[in-house]
Amino acid sequence: MSVLDLAPPRDAGMVTRLWRFIRHNPALSLALAFLLLVLALALFSSFLPHDAYRQNVLVRNSGPSLKYWLGTDALGRDMVARLAVGARVSLTVAVASTIIAVAIGVLVGTIAAYAGGFIDNAIMRFVDSMYAFPDTLFAILFAALIKGQLGGDASGWMAPLAEAYRLSGGLLGVLLTLGLTGWVTTSRLVRAQVLSLKHAEYVLACRLAGASHWFIIRKHLLPNTLPVILIAVTFVVPNAILLEAGLSFIGVGIDPPTPSWGTMIASGAQSIQSYPHLLVFPALAIGLTLLALNVVGDALRDLLDPAVSASRGAAT
């Protein structure tokens, strides 16, 4: 080979680069540490000294102390335990609804871009309409509907669903709501990516080789959309946590007695004057979690695709 046709050098491994990236970014390290703490609390909440549901009238609304690190609520339940279970609820909702939402978004975006023409137009017109509309508002309406359908006495085929809804303490409704309303951003990002990949020469070569549509989507389009899907996840996860708390706050999310950061904020707001710690701790929990998620998301987007993170304005 000639001097002008040199192959580029092989680069360092992904893990090495990632580790170096984390070490040189103190905000990121801090955010990751905080998220790990939240995750640990959520996973091991049953090992905490107090139970999240155990009421104790003797220590109602007590402030932070050695025994109750963050105090107790109006029914004398330990705040740390409740925050930990709330974290479990938040993370469960975030993971599960993100899987649903991103799956729908990828499906819709891929179909729209790959099919093109009329199908693309119809889908994107619908997506634009959803976009022009605050997603929180849709989520609230949706959650109210699900609560209305499943929260009461359901009969027929709805009965098992209603049972599951009751057992999950409203979690199922929140999951469905966020899954079914949170796919819009993902579908747009995925569509744009698939659209640009669809005419890539390697896809043409694959078509020439006689590949089916499914083969092309599976082998080329989806793998090359993966970075974009991850970017979508960095938007969808914090949004899910934000919305879960919002829905619970309004009363169409998680049902008591299951603790959720949103319901804790709502009940804390009622005694803001006399027991501010009931409001401050859950608010801090969710605020810091979202902050950490955003810091991690920013870093991840920088790593995956500098162009996307630069052009992103008010995407969420």
């Binding site: 580029p8 092989r10 080789a209």
Partner: protein, 332 residues
Amino acid sequence: MSEILLEARDIEVRFNAVRAVDGVSLTVAPGETLAIVGESGCGKTTLGRSLALLQRPTSGKVTFNGAELTALSDRQLRQARRQLQMVFQDPYASLDPRQRVGEIVGEPLLIAGVDRATRQKRVAELLDMVGLGADMAQRLPREFSGGQRQRIGIARALACEPKLIICDEPLSALDVSIQAQIVNLLIDLQRRLRLTYVFISHDLAVVRQMASRVAVMYLGRIVEIAETEQLFSAPRHPYTVALLSSVPTLGSGPSPVAEDFLLAGDPPSPSRVPGGCRFHTRCWLSGKLGHPERCATQAPVSTGEGGHLAACHFSDEIAPLLSTSPLLKGAA
């Protein structure tokens, strides 16, 4: 030409109001190399893709290896064009960055249902054939240079033993010194595997080296088609003359004579094709003849003998003019 491997008849490709390809007919005989040349934007890439039916023509017929591709459903098409492959322009965009070289080259075999062991053997063979070692199969495309990538693309095209390969400007993204290596590889493969090429290019020097016949395209139409030597020595369309005289040659500086044949301005937008002869707005010959009315009003028909066809009302006027131009002879 007794046998025909690929035939296109009245191919038209429209994008909304734009006719990228506007009524092209051509035939390709087994074993030959038909070059398609023209300025960028003349529709040659679209023509190449529509011959492979990667872009379905709006109207017209494409027949390959006895099967009328344009009449087939998507499913039937997948089978029928197995032996028609392409080598693409951009060696960076034509390889999936996430696949290993072995996967890329073996993918057509995988799709054809070839088992794993046979596939591995064949991939090694193919990589060897294009001058890359079989040990390259585990590498990723980003570890290769442009020329090496183009070799990988060629290996992929060869995987299912094609009869015809459409090369869509396979050299334009490469450095000149690498271009020669790829040209030699293509010529060598053609000889060894009895391949037929449709070679799309804007590089006349390479075309002259590779092609048995040349078709010149202007604004979506073929304006002249002839055997290579005929076209270079006795062009019969003013556009061909202009293209030939714009080829730089070593040692001869710009000459006042060459400017006689040069093109005026940029090609018109394909959405606004001039009436009459579509070349008349930039035609030096029409200017020399005092802008005859026919050029602006009447579309010329391709005429000629012995397979040398040209679409110009005054194609017979060209030969005498050229005999007085030493420069063109030198260039040609």
